[in-house]
């Protein structure tokens, strides 16, 4: 099936770099992570990344990069020199004149923290710390290798290292967690005044240790109380909720993630990374993904790009909406056509109904869910499932 692609415009471009190694796999994690060998083959991985980047030159289409996000795995297990060399190679191939955000995911822990200052020095300007909780019991349940004092020290170290943009990742709805404990975690995090918190509920995903051996999670009503009380604390600290789980001081929003939610483009680099690019030539939007095994990626067993697919119109609609409606302010209605190449009239029936039910705001120029709509976002999105 082909579709009209009138008005399709290439949106801003980010780059997602995946480093696949962890000291050990957490029981809730369903990301592409692998237990690190005694020595991480940084040089081999770097060469592979650069080769892969060159192979994907076409996807880039000469566009400037707006943001870089380094996720994992545990990116802070890699040395600062690895990133220095990567950024250097990147700058020779890609227009970085507009790149103003380079985020690195890091874990609290003495080995990693020793590198924070160097990370900052090589140009990484935003740190996302996987704190998850400040409660020692919950950290153990989550299988984290850091304890609560590591967590506190990690934040301080990051600040001392010169990072003025720091996100703290916190989970709630943890096994046996009470609303008081969740609030206490938040208060501890907010006391550091880092300006950004990702506060998301633990969900049990397939292919995780928790999935095969589920921990006792709080019931629905407790979860709702945690949510309610937690939100009050976050608002009280002057943070704005700009996405379902993302809270920041105005101006502190993660630009890279915002680009996802606004259905922007992003390149994929590294084992198991996913990318999305708008092909202005063919008028199509393409998703592609990299081979997951680090060894295969390094040794290029098969293609590093494990698969790609051109999105059909119906997928474009759903993917656009499931991203855009997560944002508190939504997106301008004009984005729909600009970023899917489809006329807005395609979804007018759904929009009318959802607006009539008070799930979408009655604003013709902005696609945005009401507070109630964001609360039941999965019900809202069902309207766009083909």
């Amino acid at each position: 099936m082909t579709h009209a692609s009138e008005g399709l415009q290439a949106p801003p471009l980010g780059l997602y770099l995946h480093t696949p190694w962890c000291v050990r796999k957490c029981p809730y994690c369903d990301f592409n992570s692998h237990t690190a060998p005694t020595t991480i083959p940084e040089n081999d991985y770097l060469s592979a990344l650069i080769e892969d980047l060159d192979a994907d030159r076409d996807e880039l289409d000469g566009r400037p990069l707006q943001s870089l996000f380094i996720g994992g795995g545990t990116p802070s297990l890699m040395s600062a020199s690895f990133y220095e060399r990567f950024l250097d190679a990147l700058s020779r191939r890609v227009d970085l004149s507009q790149l103003d955000e380079i985020t690195l995911e890091a874990n609290p822990g003495t080995v990693e923290e020793a590198r924070f200052r160097d990370f900052r020095r090589v140009g990484i300007n935003r740190l996302s710390l996987g704190v998850q909780s400040f409660d020692p019991g919950h950290l153990t349940r989550l299988g984290r290798i850091h304890d609560d004092s590591d967590a506190r020290r990690g934040v301080t170290t990051a600040m001392d290292a010169g990072f003025d943009r720091i996100n703290l990742d916190l989970m709630h709805g943890l096994p046996g967690q009470t609303p008081e404990q969740a609030v206490s975690d938040l208060e501890t995090a907010l006391a550091f005044n880092t300006g950004h918190v990702s506060w998301y509920q633990l969900t049990i995903e397939p292919n995780t240790a928790f999935y095969s051996d589920p921990p006792p999670l709080p019931d629905d009503d407790t979860l709702a109380s945690i949510q309610e009380q937690g939100e009050a604390v976050l608002y009280g600290a002057g943070l704005q909720r700009y996405e379902i789980s993302a809270w920041g001081r105005p101006g502190e929003e993660c630009r890279h993630n915002l680009n996802y939610w606004r259905f922007g483009d992003y390149l994929a680099l590294g084992a198991g990374a996913h990318g999305k690019v708008t092909r202005s030539g063919s008028g199509r939007v393409r998703r592609y993904w990299k081979t997951r095994q680090p060894g295969d990626y390094i040794n290029r067993i098969g293609s590093r790009t494990a698969g790609r697919s051109e999105l059909e119109a119906q997928d474009l609609v759903l993917e656009f909406m499931l991203n855009a409606l997560r944002l508190s302010e939504g997106v301008p209605a004009s984005f729909f056509q600009a970023r899917t190449g489809l006329p807005l009239s395609r979804i007018e029936d759904q929009l009318r109904q959802l607006r009539a039910h008070g799930l979408l705001a009655d604003t013709p120029d902005q696609l945005v869910a009401t507070e109630r709509g964001r609360c039941y976002l999965n019900e809202v999105l069902e309207a766009f499932v083909p």
Partner: protein
């Protein structure tokens, strides 16, 4: 009369797990109908559903060649019969094609009620009944006792009962020898005009209608023009043959034989079960006495989940009634469920099987409403109405009296479980009419409201007796009772398809149980849902399904959206199995909540 002395047509009457299928398989093996390699277990139960449930639903036949000890080769036509209480009607159909029947009884467990009923049917039709004592290899086998029980309960001479073990093969040839010596050969005249009885018909996508027939007189060949008596339509025969058990084409089917005819009939109503087939040039051949039409005992509304499937659903029901005359259906429309059919069934198993067959074979998702019996309603003006849909019960002010169907239930049970059976019957408002202590069991007869029997009585009886009790029941009469319609309201709206008829003294407890069960079955949604049970304007129970606090995926990494999409697709799939009532999504199971109020 032609010499048909080499033919034997027989059925097997047996309780579900008394070993009929195993015995039939042994026959096939002894007669080399199948090689060992081809011998799948229980080949005769050919519908997937039958094999899964381990029961026989439809009549099937198999033709075997048996070389007897007297040196002659006999043609044995075995017409299979269903063994479940719901399908006794099918049994009498199969028996019409036979001259004899094997009554297979578990030598350890004794006679069971359904076999008694079927045995009477066989004897009424003049069939020779040979008792077979199966499972004699088991340590608990007690052939003497079981023989005396056969004589006590059924009243036939059991001294010639043949002991065997279908499982290990002992005595199987003795059974075959008894069969050829004691069951008479069919009577018929090959040279007379064709007269064949349609035992069963089914629709085959490639061949059109296939009919299983018993040829009474004459013969039929490929290429001949045949006439279906009741329709008056002629068709050219494409092929004739028998099942061995694979369909095998032969040149000719003759008087006394059982086999199939395919004659390019495309209209599923073109070859009704019980009809007579003759040649087009002998239209005056007498029509054979067909089968007695049975009345459904249980009615339920069945609706396609998607209204687009209405026509396909009607076609499916038409195809199923072709060889299941006991299935009744007529259009029904419901405010809550849209357009569907009010269907009548022999019992709950029949209902479940029809629903499963439509869903499985025709790919249509269905919603079934609470099953009900037929009530006889005497109006103030003296007229009488029969109501098989609770929502159609007239205004109480116009009703003089509501009468419920009463049945006589014949139960056979080992003495140790007698107490449980009596307790169950009393709980179901039964009154005992007789009790008879037999060699290994007790025969107890109760009068029970049909509504208490058709829903889950059989299952409860089985679990109260570790599976040993057996049951047969028959409609007796309508009897006045203090009945009322119990309505279910969802968010204040009466939902017609959820109404049931209850005894007034049970209204409160039933209403409470039903509202509680509904609360369990209706998933939490974006708003509170009030569930009320009411008699008229009097609310007898109330439950609330609290609103979902939220439904949103916490974390969404923009990178890989495939998992999230799958989650949404699954969510949407789930809703397909639900029906929108007002703005509430009600899952299929909730419409059958009344059947589950006794679950724990």
């Amino acid at each position: 009369m032609s010499d048909l002395s080499h033919i034997r047509n027989f059925s097997i009457i047996a309780h579900i797990d008394h070993g009929k299928s195993t015995l039939a398989d042994r026959f096939i093996q002894v007669c080399e109908g199948l090689t060992d390699r081809e011998m799948a277990e229980q080949v005769l139960d050919s519908m997937d559903l039958e094999r899964e449930r381990g029961i026989t639903i439809k009549a099937q036949s198999v033709t075997l060649k048996y070389r007897a000890k007297d040196g002659n080769v006999y043609e044995l036509n075995f017409i299979d019969t269903p063994g479940h209480v719901d399908f006794s009607y099918e049994v009498s159909r199969s028996l019409k094609a036979c001259e004899g029947a094997l009554l297979v009884v578990d030598a350890g467990q004794g006679v069971e009620a359904q076999s008694v009923a079927n045995c009477y049917t066989a004897m009424d039709q003049g069939l020779e009944v040979i008792p077979i004592l199966n499972k004699i290899d088991l340590p608990q086998a007690d052939p003497e006792k079981v023989m005396s029980e056969i004589e006590d309960v059924i009243g036939i001479d059991a001294s010639g009962a043949v002991p065997c073990s279908a499982k290990n093969g002992t005595g199987v040839e003795d059974v075959l020898e008894a069969l050829i010596h004691r069951i008479p050969p069919p009577q018929g005249e090959v040279d007379e005009a064709l007269q064949a009885l349609i035992i069963d018909s089914w629709f085959d996508n490639y061949q059109g209608v296939v009919s299983l027939v018993r040829v009474m007189h004459g013969s039929v060949r490929k290429g001949e023009k045949v006439l279906v008596k009741s329709t008056g339509k002629s068709h050219v025969v494409d092929k004739v043959g028998y099942f061995n058990p694979k369909p095998t084409t032969i040149p000719e089917l003759k008087a006394g034989e059982v086999g199939f005819i395919v004659s390019g009939i495309k209209d599923i109503k073109g070859a009704p079960v019980g009809d007579t087939i003759t040649h087009a040039n002998t239209p005056d051949v007498a029509q054979l006495e067909g089968f007695q039409k049975v009345k459904p005992q249980v009615y339920a509304g069945i609706f396609p989940v998607s209204s687009d499937d209405y026509n396909a659903f009607r076609d499916a029901l038409e195809k199923l009634t072709l060889n299941d005359a006991s299935l009744f259906f007529e259009p029904e429309s419901s405010d809550a469920l849209g357009f569907g059919f009010r269907c009548g069934f022999l019992g709950m198993l029949h209902m479940e099987i029809i629903q499963e067959r439509v869903e499985r074979e025709y790919g249509i998702d269905l919603i079934t409403t609470a099953p009900t019996v037929v009530y006889e309603v005497v109006m103030v003006d003296g007229s009488v109405e029969y109501i098989e849909n609770p929502s159609r019960l007239p205004d109480p002010a116009e009703i003089e009296e509501i009468r419920e169907p009463i049945c006589e239930a014949n139960i056979l049970v080992p003495q140790e479980f007698l107490g449980n059976v009596i307790a169950l019957c009393e709980e179901r408002r039964g009154s005992q009419t007789s009790m008879n202590f037999l060699a290994t069991q007790v025969q107890v007869v109760y009068e029970l409201p049909m509504s208490e029997v058709v829903l889950d009585f059989f299952d409860r009886l089985k679990s109260a007796t570790r599976g040993y009790a057996s049951l047969d029941y028959q409609f007796q009469r309508f009897q006045a009772a203090n009945l009322a319609r119990l309505d279910i309201l969802i968010n204040g709206d009466r939902v017609d398809s959820l109404a049931i008829v209850v005894h007034r003294e049970q209204a409160h407890s039933k209403g409470r149980a039903l509202a509680e069960k509904m609360k369990e079955l209706i998933p939490r949604q974006m708003f509170d849902i009030a569930i009320q049970a009411a008699i008229g304007n009097h609310v007898v129970a109330r439950q609330t399904v609290k609103a979902l606090r939220k439904n949103v995926t916490a974390k969404c990494y923009g990178g890989d959206v495939s998992r999230k999409k799958k989650l949404l697709q699954k969510q949407k799939e789930g809703k397909k199995r639900m029906k929108q009532v007002g703005n509430v999504e009600v899952p299929q199971e909730a419409f059958l909540a009344v059947l589950r109020v006794n679950d724990d």
